[in-house]
């Protein structure tokens, strides 16, 4: 059965590129445009990985990871940050919130797929 991944980003074009990359490898994809919408869509739905941007309106990505990790259904779900930011401070914040990986945009599809496969297998 195909695994499900959620992508959260306020940029529609980034959501499309990630969707195309992941669906090409047989994954099911759910998307959301910010942290609030993501939490609404999660609502107990089984996902195998959460990929989120950092800078979004209403709720940023690091807060989303922190809030999602509080929910029992997603406590052990791997989460990855996909963002233009590359500072060590931000990476540390993401790590503290519970993220397992940090990928800087613009990304190459093979790099994204490599990260996804390692996180889902772990």
């Amino acid at each position: 059965m195909a695994k499900t991944i959620m992508i959260v980003d306020d940029s529609a074009s980034v959501r499309k590129v990630v969707r195309l990359t992941l669906e090409g490898e047989g994954f099911n994809v759910i998307d959301a445009s910010d942290g609030v919408e993501a939490l609404k869509k999660l609502n107990g739905v089984k996902i195998h990985l959460l990929i989120t941007d950092v800078n979004m309106p209403n709720m940023d990505g690091i807060t989303l990871v922190h809030e999602a990790k509080k929910l029992p259904a997603y406590k052990f779900t791997p989460m990855m940050i996909l963002t233009t930011e590359a500072s060590d401070d931000k990476k540390m914040q993401g790590r503290k919130a519970g993220a397992k990986a940090w990928l800087v945009k613009p990304f190459q599809p093979p790099t994204l797929l490599d990260a996804v496969s390692k996180l889902i297998l772990s």
């Binding site: 940029s11 074009s13 499309k16 590129v17 930011e85 993401g94 990986a101 945009k105 390692k118």
Partner: protein, 400 residues
Amino acid sequence: MSDINKYFFYLMPSITAAAASVYLFFMTNLALYSLMLMFTCALIFSFFVGHILYKKAQSIYSELELSHQQMNDTYVLQTGAYIDTLESLMGEVIPIVSKQINTSKQHTEHEVCSLTDKFSIMAKKIGVLLDNQKQNDDEAAISLLLEGVEAILKGVVGGLGKLNSADQGITSEVELLSKHTIKLESMANEVREVADNINLLSLNAAIEAARAGDNGRGFAVVADEVRKLAGTSANTGVKIKKTVEEIDRAMKLALNLAKSTADIGSETIKNSAGFIDKVLIDIKATVNSFKENSQTLTKSSEQIQDEVYHVISALQFQDRVSQMLDHAEHNLDDLNQVLLSNKDITHTERSADLIKKNEILNNMKLRYTMPVELVNHQASSSGETNITEQESTGEVLTFF
């Protein structure tokens, strides 16, 4: 302008007179009392001159001071008007520029999304074509079909050959049969001759029987019957001969037909075999060419698919541009807020501290999410124009 030094105008002439007197005392032979008299006169004169000069200088100073004050007032008024006009201009321009930036951001996002969709559809269609090509394995199917066609055609040629051989066999048999009919005709002739002889004999027997009188009556009956039998045999012989002639005619016709058919068949089969060989060679050449083209097409399709995916990836630039425009929009909003908050403060109450320049610049830096924004900020601050963005030396992908 500082106040005029009053004592300068009184003392300087006096010191000059004293110095001149000392000089004269040492350089001339004038008596001391004459010198003292000259000094006193000079001193009185110098005080008088100093007073006049002081009064003149004071008057000029007052005039200059008044003029300076007037210039200051004019400067303040003009500067105030300039700042008011500049604030008003910024208050109008900043929201306009902010809206233009927002519109550019939305248009760019919309068009890039549309492009991404179109390229995605292209990539998927190419993928479907490639998958179908791999699954169908047309090359093997065509090769198998070709082999099947070749076997069938060669079988047909073989079959035709066999038919031709059979035809030739039939011709031989017909020829043999024709020889038999000749024999049959000869036999029919013999039967007729025998019948004729029997008839002749029976006539002779009838004559002798008539000569024998009453004793030959029985023999005459037998002779009559034999003569009748001979007639019947002769008729049968004639009929056999006619039938054999008819059969012979038909067989000769059939033989001619079979011979001509066999000749045509051999020639046709020979031509057909050659034609089929040529066609099979042409088909094989076409199939090989098709195979090569198919392989080239598959390779090109895969390359095109890769390029399309690269283009789709490259369209991520829109996200970076959108973020930078977003930050620029917020920075302009901050500037606008400064203008609005200081709008109602009078000129006399205004000071540079109201603008909080460093705080604004610091907030701009905190808002940035990409190194290039910080580079641009620092380049503008330092006045350098040739600073280029350095390649990020940090890892693209980090696992925790």
